[in-house]
């Protein structure tokens, strides 16, 4: 005789088993989000997963041949209002939007995204205030750098980073008075390697000395981190009222020295024309100089009113008009391609 209590157990357990099994089929398998390439391979190539994102292909940006960069570092950027005002005066939208970022500041994802949506690449002039190159090289900022790099990688949009610009001058804490060339190089390489380890390949590394004219005694090569660590060479140089008035005289000596140790492409990373009798000619020389030199990628306009000097074009209609005229003849890069 079978115990009466045994009868309902079997269907109950069987039902529980079915529930467990069905649940297991769906829940236990963690690979549904991994992708379905295995099941749809009539073609040789695996299917992309919905969440799979290829790393941004930087090869077209590292040494572009299709056009020149036209950038701006505008007051109150990365807000787009000053950028739009600059674009209205220049007659063209810039394709680089630069910003000075103090050491310790988080990576501004929204600014990069907004710039990219606008049609421009974000350019960070990373200023190591409140620290030293030796401390950075010694690993004291590793956490900050890695977090910054992770954010850059996660965003997966191209970003240009210039660490410690104008390092060959003595007007910044990371300049020649307080930082040795070897410390600067060590810090640069350390930052670069942390970005590599974080997988942030979507960075264009811009090594950005000042023109050598005001500091001829400082050799640039000791500050050079090496071709493996730099993508672009940036040069800071302004056309003042008194001084060099042409591209060749302003940047020529620096370019000559740089070409002795690297062939990396050059961008005029910070420039403007001071108001004066030859400002239009200087501007014309700048644009033509960029256009004629294959190794020069473009220039970034310093659109600030700083220390009593107005470098903006919006407030100088004649310069703005000249800029619009020159830029219209300059073939510009199309970032979306």
């Amino acid at each position: 005789m079978r115990p009466a209590s045994r009868v309902p157990l079997v269907p109950v357990l069987a039902a529980a088993l079915v529930i467990i099994a069905l649940g297991g089929c769906g829940v236990v398998s963690p690979h549904q989000s991994v992708g379905n390439a295995g099941s749809s391979t009539h073609s040789s190539a695996p299917s992309p997963t919905p969440s799979a994102t290829l790393p941004y292909n930087m090869s077209g940006l590292l040494d572009p041949t299709g056009g020149k960069f036209f950038g701006v570092e505008a007051q109150d950027a990365p807000a787009l209002a000053p950028v739009n005002a600059f674009a209205a005066s220049a007659g063209r939208k810039p394709d680089i939007i630069g910003q000075y970022v103090a050491w310790g500041t988080s990576f501004d994802t929204q600014a990069v995204t907004a710039a990219w949506s606008y049609g421009a690449m974000y350019y960070i002039a990373w200023e190591p205030y409140d620290t030293t190159a030796a401390a950075i090289a010694g690993g004291q900022s590793d956490r900050y750098i890695t977090k910054f790099a992770d954010a850059v990688r996660t965003l997966n949009l191209p970003v240009a980073i210039s660490f410690g610009h104008e390092m060959n001058g003595n007007w910044y804490p990371w300049g020649t008075d307080q930082t040795s060339a070897s410390s600067f190089v060590a810090a640069w390489r350390h930052i670069h390697n942390l970005f590599i380890q974080a997988g942030a390949s979507n960075v264009i590394w811009v090594w950005n000395p000042n023109i050598i004219n005001p500091v001829p005694q400082v050799q640039l090569e000791p500050y050079w981190p090496g071709d493996a660590y730099v993508d672009w060479v940036g040069i800071t140089g302004y056309f003042p009222t008194s001084g060099p008035e042409t591209f060749a005289t302003l940047y020529g000596p620096t370019l000559t020295e740089i070409r002795q140790f690297t062939t990396k492409p050059v961008i005029i990373a910070e420039t403007s024309v001071e108001t004066g009798p030859s400002d239009i000619q200087a501007l014309h020389s700048l644009v033509v100089g960029v256009k004629r030199r294959p190794g020069v990628l473009g220039f970034i306009w310093f659109d600030f009113n700083k220390d009593g000097v107005d470098w903006q074009i919006e407030s100088r209609p004649t310069v703005g008009d000249a800029m619009a005229a020159d830029i219209s003849r300059l073939p510009l890069i199309n970032l979306k391609k």
Partner: protein, 616 residues
């Protein structure tokens, strides 16, 4: 009202009264004219299980009465013909009222009776429906697994394509596959590549699924012949939910097809066990083909040979044991001839696959733990089944079972089948590695499954007395199989993004250093700029320097990088982590290389990043 104790046998039915200590069945007697078999009583073996008349056999009593005269004459003829082979009961014993008579289908001419326990039509169809459901469950469990090609799958598939081109058009091969493939490269790889040509990776995996479904069906058939349908269904139900079965059924590797062939050979020796003619020898080419498909199957050929002996023993007695020796001997000869024909390369590969210790491999504790996790439940049930089967041939007094033979024979059945499962573990321990343990376990578990089926049937008890225990045990097996197969099938990262990333940087004649180059080669097959000889893996490299010096290992990679030999370098710091670290340091300071991108590789067990460097 008195209750019968649960463990007591059911009351005897009229006409099937149990007699005191009846002996084991010794020999089926086939009546040539009535196509019946008389099962004689014999009392010589005190260890034997009592033979209980089959109460489920419809019409047995009626037939017994109808054919009594024919039985007597048939028994006489049989006893004269076979007297020297076995003990034949005396004529008067057949005439006893309790003499058991079963109607059996006539076997093939001269082959003796087909089966001891011919099931009813209803039982047959119910069993077939159940095994059909089990196969459906197995198919669903395998097909739910999703991932891109595993490295071994990729290697088999693209090597199969190359082999096909080599055989048909004389195209060059990428190395001598015969020296390191775990099976003859013109067998499974060519088959899988043909399937891949038709339907891609899914079709190649479907071949494995089909093989594993056939394996389960053959397991059921073999177990049904050794025991009965119930045990066969239990064995199949347990086997189909193990991670090894699920995994092997969805991996385009040679394990499934080899196991299928091995299962077929096993089924043949069991199926032909009662036959007098040497039909069991048909299993030998199949078994040899299984071993050629996957050298790992070599380890189980002794089990097939032993199975030939113990399967035939209840029917033809001690001469059956000679079958094992004959099979073993002929198989050795066949392999010797094969080696003479195909050369020593295959021997090298077979020894490497089955007997070469891996220096610095997995720890024994790891191997034991993994084996316990993945196959422990079935082996435990098999041990239980072995013990219970040795003690008692039947689960319930009137259970229909195949001829169990003496206790010694039953012990032999249990030891051979269960012990074969341990072979897998012992060889993996000897090899000092857990590589492929997850699929190799399927071989051992195939042999252990029949005894596990016995164990599960005994847990359930007679008349499904403890069905809930059986359900719980199977549920545990199912959940373990689900979780483990999911985990193992997701243990390699989805390669879609990485392959697409690599495909951006291909160029004519370029060279690529890729950690797992097989997957890239497979998915980029057909791309003119991604031929197999353009790839190098981080596992081995020989590089000839500009001075003509041939170097290997890490110095070879560094020298190649220094010379700008590679156009793309991809590593993920997982399997070859020390080398990858060295490569990373070299690349970071090499101005010709730039990090082009990183691809996150996420799998349940690990998360890592794949670095893609390109020569600029």
């Amino acid at each position: 009202m008195s209750k019968r104790p649960q463990n007591s046998p059911p009351p005897a039915r009229p006409g099937t009264a149990r007699r005191g200590a009846p002996g084991p069945y010794k020999r089926p007697v086939q009546s040539p004219d009535a196509e019946t078999v008389m099962l004689a009583k014999y009392t010589a073996d005190p260890d034997a299980e009592p033979e209980v008349p089959d109460a489920e056999q419809p019409g047995a009593e009626k037939l017994r009465l109808e054919h009594q005269a024919a039985e007597l004459s048939a028994a006489k003829r049989f006893s004269v013909r076979n007297r020297r082979e076995t003990d034949i009961p005396a004529e008067d014993e057949f005439a006893e009222p309790s003499t058991r008579v079963l109607v059996l289908p006539r076997g093939k001419r001269g082959a003796g009776p087909e089966l001891f326990s011919a099931p009813s039509a209803r039982r047959t169809w119910v069993s077939r429906a159940c095994i059909g459901a089990i196969l459906c469950v197995q198919a669903v469990l395998s097909l739910r697994l999703q991932n891109t090609a595993y490295g071994d799958e990729a290697l088999n598939l693209y090597a199969g394509h190359l082999e096909t081109l080599h055989q048909l058009h004389g195209a060059s091969l990428q190395g001598n596959y015969a020296t390191y493939f775990p099976g003859v490269p013109v067998l499974y790889p060519v088959l899988a590549a043909a399937a891949n040509s038709v339907g891609g990776l899914a079709a190649a995996r479907a071949v494995s699924l089909l093989a594993m479904l056939i394996t389960t069906a053959l397991l059921y058939g073999m177990t049904r012949l050794l025991f009965n349908e119930r045990v066969g269904l239990c064995a199949a139900a347990l086997f189909c939910v193990t991670e090894a079965t699920i995994l092997a059924g969805h991996l385009a590797t040679n394990d499934a097809v080899s196991l299928c062939l091995l299962a077929f050979a096993s089924w043949v020796v069991v199926r032909t066990g009662p036959w007098h003619w040497r039909a069991y020898l048909l299993a030998m080419p199949v078994a040899c083909l299984a071993a050629a498909t996957d050298y790992w199957a070599l380890l189980y050929l002794p089990a097939v040979a032993a199975l030939a002996g113990i399967a035939g023993h209840p029917y033809i007695g001690r001469p059956a044991l000679a079958r094992a020796l004959v099979m073993g001997g002929v198989m050795v000869e066949l392999f010797a001839v094969g080696v003479l024909i195909v050369g020593r390369d295959y021997v090298t590969a077979a020894v490497s696959a089955t007997a070469s210790r891996s220096p610095g491999g997995s720890q024994a504790l790891t191997i034991l733990t993994e084996a316990g996790k993945w196959g422990g439940l079935i082996v435990a049930l098999a041990v239980l089944g072995t013990i219970r089967y040795a003690a008692q041939a039947r689960n319930e007094p009137n259970e229909r079972v195949a001829l169990p033979g003496s206790r010694h024979r039953r012990i032999a059945v249990g030891v051979v089948l269960t012990g074969t499962a341990v072979v897998t573990l012992l060889d993996q321990l000897y090899l000092n590695t857990d590589v492929s343990l997850d699929t190799h376990l399927a071989f051992g578990l195939f042999f252990a499954a029949p005894m596990a089926g016995v164990g599960l049937a005994r847990l359930v008890g007679d008349h499904f007395r403890r069905a809930q225990i059986g359900i719980v045990v199977w549920a545990v097996a199912l959940i373990l199989g689900l979780a483990q197969s999911s985990q193992l099938f997701g243990s390699w990262p989805n390669s879609s993004t990485l392959v697409m990333e690599l495909s951006r940087y291909l160029g004519p004649g370029d060279r690529y250093l890729v950690e797992n180059d097989n997957v890239a080669i497979y998915y980029l097959m057909g791309n003119r700029d991604a031929q197999p000889d353009q790839f190098t893996s981080t596992y081995f490299m020989a590089y000839r320097t500009s001075k003509g010096q041939l170097i290997t290992g890490t110095p070879a990679y560094l020298a190649a990088l220094q010379a700008g030999y590679f156009h793309v370098v991809i590593y993920d710091s997982s399997v070859t982590a020390p080398l990858d670290k060295t490569l990373a340091a070299a690349l970071e300071s090499d101005p010709r290389y730039r990090l082009a991108g990183t691809v996150p590789e996420n799998a349940p067990d690990f998360r890592t990043t794949c670095y893609v460097w390109i020569r600029t």
